[in-house]
C-alpha cells in the first residue's frame, strides 16, 4: 500500500478516542473500520473498547456502535444482522468486536453458537492477552509464564494459551485469519477478503498493550512484528476450516522467543527453564502449523 492511497475520508476512527498511548487495539480498529467501512455497524462487548469508543453522546467512530453485555456479543451480532436484513438493509457489514475475554472466555459459547449457525457477520477478536480493561487479570488467552494481577509474582499463568483458531477451524466456518498491527497490508487484505465472503468470518488480531504487558508505548509495532518473527503469533488464514494458508514467509520465523519475552515486564520473572519450555511449545506449534498449511502456498506472501 502506498501512503498516498490513504486518505482521511476512508478513516472511521477519529482522534480524541480514549485509548492509552501505544494501544494496539486502537490501531487494530482503525485498520479494520477503514477496510470494512463505511457501511458498517459495530457490536461492541465489554472490553477496553467500551472505554476507547468514548462516552455517549460523544463517539470516536464514524459508524453505529451497539454496546452489549459481556457474554452476549456473538448472539447480539446474530440478531443485529438478521434485524437489519428484515429491514432490507442487506448491504451493511456487521462486525462484532470483542477482546480476548469476550472471545476466549465469557463470550466463547455465543461465539461458538454463531459460528455453528454460520451467521453472516465478521467476529473480530482483538487479543491483548488478558483482561486489560479491568487491569491485567489472567484470561485463557494469556500466554504461559506471564505474570498478571490474578497471578502475581511468584505465581504465573500456568497452562498454554487457548488455541482459538483451531477451535474456529473445527467449526468449519468459511473464513478465519490471524493478523497483527505490524502488518497492516496483510490485515487489510484479510479483512477485505472476509468482507466479500458470506457466512461467519473470524479475525484474530494480536494487539500489544503497553500498560498490561509492561512495555514502552513506542514499542507496540516492534512487539507486534516480533510476535510474528519469533513464531509466537504466525500469520495465516483458514478457508472452510480445512484450507490453511500461511501469509508470511516461512523463513520469517528467525528470532528466538527470548527476544520477544525479554522486552515485556509481564515475563520478567520467567527463568531459563520456563523460557525454554515456552520456546519448545512455540516450535511445536509452528511445526504443526507447517503440516497444516497448503504446501504450495508456503512460500506465498501478499
Amino acid at each position: 500500500m502506498k501512503i498516498e492511497e490513504l486518505n482521511r475520508e476512508s478513516e472511521l476512527l477519529y482522534s480524541g478516542h480514549n485509548a492509552c498511548p501505544g494501544c494496539g487495539a486502537a490501531l487494530a480498529v482503525r485498520y479494520l473500520t477503514r477496510a470494512l467501512g463505511p457501511n458498517l455497524a459495530l457490536v461492541l462487548t465489554a472490553s477496553c473498547w467500551s472505554i476507547i469508543a468514548g462516552m455517549p453522546p460523544l463517539t470516536a467512530l464514524k459508524c453505529p456502535i451497539l454496546h452489549c453485555p459481556f457474554p452476549s456479543a456473538g448472539s447480539v451480532g446474530s440478531g443485529l444482522k438478521r434485524g437489519l436484513n428484515a429491514k432490507g438493509l442487506h448491504d451493511t457489514t456487521v462486525v462484532v468486536l470483542a477482546g480476548d475475554g469476550g472471545t476466549f472466555d465469557i463470550g466463547l459459547q455465543a461465539l461458538s453458537g454463531a459460528a455453528q449457525r454460520n451467521e453472516d457477520y465478521i467476529f473480530v477478536c482483538y487479543d491483548n492477552e488478558a483482561y486489560m480493561n479491568t487491569g491485567m487479570q489472567t484470561s485463557s488467552a494469556t500466554p504461559y509464564g506471564a505474570r498478571t494481577n490474578t497471578a502475581p509474582y511468584p505465581l504465573f499463568k500456568e497452562g498454554q494459551k487457548k488455541d482459538i483458531m483451531q477451535i474456529m477451524a473445527a467449526h468449519s466456518i468459511p473464513y478465519a485469519a490471524t493478523a497483527t498491527i505490524a502488518y497492516p497490508e496483510d490485515m487489510e487484505k484479510k479483512l477485505k477478503k472476509a468482507k466479500e465472503i458470506r457466512g461467519f468470518r473470524f479475525i484474530h488480531i494480536l494487539s500489544p498493550c503497553p500498560p498490561g504487558w509492561g512495555t514502552e508505548s513506542a514499542d507496540t509495532i516492534h512487539l507486534s512484528r516480533l510476535a510474528v518473527t519469533t513464531g509466537f503469533f504466525p500469520l495465516y488464514e483458514i478457508e472452510n476450516g480445512s484450507t490453511w494458508n500461511l501469509t508470511q514467509y516461512v523463513d520469517e520465523k528467525i528470532a528466538p522467543l527470548s527476544d520477544y519475552l525479554g522486552q515485556q515486564r509481564r515475563f520478567n520473572q520467567m527463568d531459563a527453564i520456563r523460557i525454554k519450555a515456552l520456546q519448545e511449545e512455540v516450535d511445536r506449534e509452528w511445526e504443526a502449523l507447517m503440516k497444516r498449511v497448503n504446501a504450495e502456498r508456503r512460500e506465498n506472501i501478499f
Binding site: 455497524a41 456502535i65 451497539l66 454496546h67 447480539v76 434485524g83 428484515a86 455465543a110
Partner: protein, 380 residues
C-alpha cells in the same frame, strides 16, 4: 370468528404469528417448549412471516432479540424458570436500552431441587428489571394479551413480559377464538418504532454513562412505565372495537357486602373466581399488570368498597420475607387512610389452590394481627 381447542402455549404462539414478527429467537425449556415448537411449525409451513432462529441458550435468545430490536425489528422469545434466571443480565439490558421486546414466561419453580410446578417466583424475581409484567389466567387471555403487549411495548419503548402458569395454562386445552391475520392487523400493524442502529449514521449506543446520566434515564424510564395503565386502557378500548373483548390491568369482582377481598394473579385467580359464590361476602381482585404496579387503581377500589381484609394468594415466596404479591400490596396500601389488613396464603412450589384451602384460610387463617401469612399445606 373460528373457535379452536388449543393450549395456552399454542395460543401464545398463534398470537405471535398473527401479530407478525421479524424474528423469533428460540431455546427450549419445559414447560415453555410448545410455544417455540408451534412457531417452528409456522416457519416450516412458511407462514411465520419472519425468521426463526434456534440459539444456544436462553441468554443468547434474548441477546439475539436485543440485536434485532436495535435494528427496528419486532421480535419475540419465550422462556421459563431457569431460562428466565439465566437471561437476567440481558433482561436488565433490554429495558435500559429501551428495546420493545415481548417475551412470554411460563411460570415454573426455580431449583434446587428440580421442580416443574408453576411457582411464580421466576418472573416475580425479575420485578426490578424494568420490564412490564402482565399475568394471564386462561388461553384466550394469553392470545389477547400477547397482541396487546406488542402494542403497549412499542408505544412505550419498554419490554413486556406476558406470564402464565406452567401446565395449568400452558398445557390445558381451551376453546379459543383465533381471529385471522387480517382481523388482527386492524389492531396491530407492522412495527413502527425507530431503529436505534442506523447504518451510515454514527451513534454510540448504550456506551459508558455517568451516574448522573443514568439517574435521568431511569427517571424517564420510570415515568414512561407509569404511563402504562392509562395507555393500556386506550389499547384495550381499541382491542374491544376489533375483537369485542376487553381486559383491564386489574379485573375485580367485589360483591356489595364484601369486606374481604382475595387478590391473585394467574391461573389461581380463576379458581377464586369459580369459588366466589361459595365464599360468603368475599370479592376478587385479579392482578393482571404487576409492573407497573397499579397502586392507585387498587387503592381506590379497596377504598370504594371499604375493604377491611385482603387475602393474597402468593404462588411464590421471597424466603425471609414471605409472599411477593403481599409485600407489594402492603407497600401499595400504606398510603391509604384506612389500609386493609393484608394476609398471605403462600403456595410456594406452585402448589394448587383448592376451594377447601380458601375456605380454611378465610375461617382460621386471618389472625388477630394485621399482617400474617399461612402456608398452603397447613390450610389443606
Amino acid at each position: 370468528m373460528p373457535f379452536e381447542m388449543i393450549s395456552g402455549s399454542q395460543a401464545a404462539a398463534i398470537a405471535v404469528q398473527r401479530a407478525g414478527v421479524d424474528l423469533v429467537a428460540a431455546y427450549p425449556i419445559t414447560p415453555q417448549t410448545a410455544i417455540v415448537e408451534t412457531l417452528a411449525n409456522f416457519a416450516a409451513e412458511g407462514i411465520l412471516g419472519g425468521e426463526f432462529v434456534s440459539l444456544e441458550s436462553e441468554y443468547a435468545a434474548l441477546a439475539c432479540c436485543n440485536g434485532a430490536s436495535a435494528a427496528g425489528s419486532r421480535v419475540f422469545t419465550a422462556t421459563s424458570s431457569h431460562g428466565l434466571a439465566y437471561m437476567h443480565e440481558m433482561i436488565h439490558w433490554c429495558s435500559g436500552a429501551r428495546f420493545p421486546i415481548v417475551m412470554v414466561n411460563v411460570n415454573r419453580t426455580i431449583g434446587a431441587p428440580w421442580c416443574l410446578d408453576p411457582d411464580q417466583g421466576d418472573s416475580l424475581s425479575q420485578r426490578d428489571t424494568g420490564w412490564m409484567q402482565i399475568y394471564c389466567s386462561g388461553a384466550q387471555e394469553v392470545f389477547d394479551t400477547v397482541l396487546q403487549a406488542f402494542a403497549l411495548s412499542e408505544e412505550l419503548l419498554l419490554p413486556c413480559m406476558v406470564i402464565f402458569d406452567g401446565f395449568y395454562i400452558s398445557h390445558t386445552y381451551e376453546a379459543v377464538d383465533i381471529p385471522e391475520k387480517e382481523v388482527v392487523s386492524r389492531f396491530i400493524g407492522p412495527p413502527e418504532f425507530q431503529a436505534q442502529v442506523k447504518p451510515g449514521f454514527p451513534g454510540n449506543l448504550h456506551g459508558l454513562s455517568t451516574g448522573e446520566m443514568q439517574l435521568k434515564l431511569v427517571k424517564m424510564r420510570h415515568a414512561d412505565m407509569l404511563r402504562a395503565p392509562t395507555l393500556f386502557t386506550d389499547i384495550n378500548k381499541r382491542f374491544h372495537e376489533v375483537f369485542g373483548r376487553s381486559y383491564n390491568f386489574i379485573e375485580a369482582v367485589i360483591p356489595p357486602a364484601a369486606k374481604t377481598v382475595i387478590l391473585a394473579a394467574g391461573a389461581v385467580s380463576e379458581t377464586v373466581r369459580w369459588a366466589l359464590p361459595e365464599l360468603k361476602d368475599t370479592g376478587l381482585i385479579e392482578l393482571r399488570m404487576f409492573r407497573p404496579f397499579p397502586t392507585e387503581q387498587i387503592c381506590s377500589l379497596l377504598e370504594a368498597h371499604d375493604v377491611e381484609k385482603v387475602v393474597v394468594i402468593d404462588r411464590n415466596c421471597s424466603v425471609g420475607v414471605g409472599g411477593i404479591l403481599a409485600q407489594e400490596l402492603r407497600a401499595a396500601v400504606y398510603g391509604m387512610n384506612r389500609p386493609p389488613a393484608v394476609y398471605d396464603l403462600i403456595l410456594a412450589g406452585g402448589v394448587d389452590l383448592t376451594v377447601r384451602m380458601l375456605e380454611n384460610m378465610l375461617e382460621s387463617g386471618l389472625s388477630e394481627t394485621r399482617v400474617g401469612h399461612k402456608w398452603g399445606d397447613d390450610m389443606q
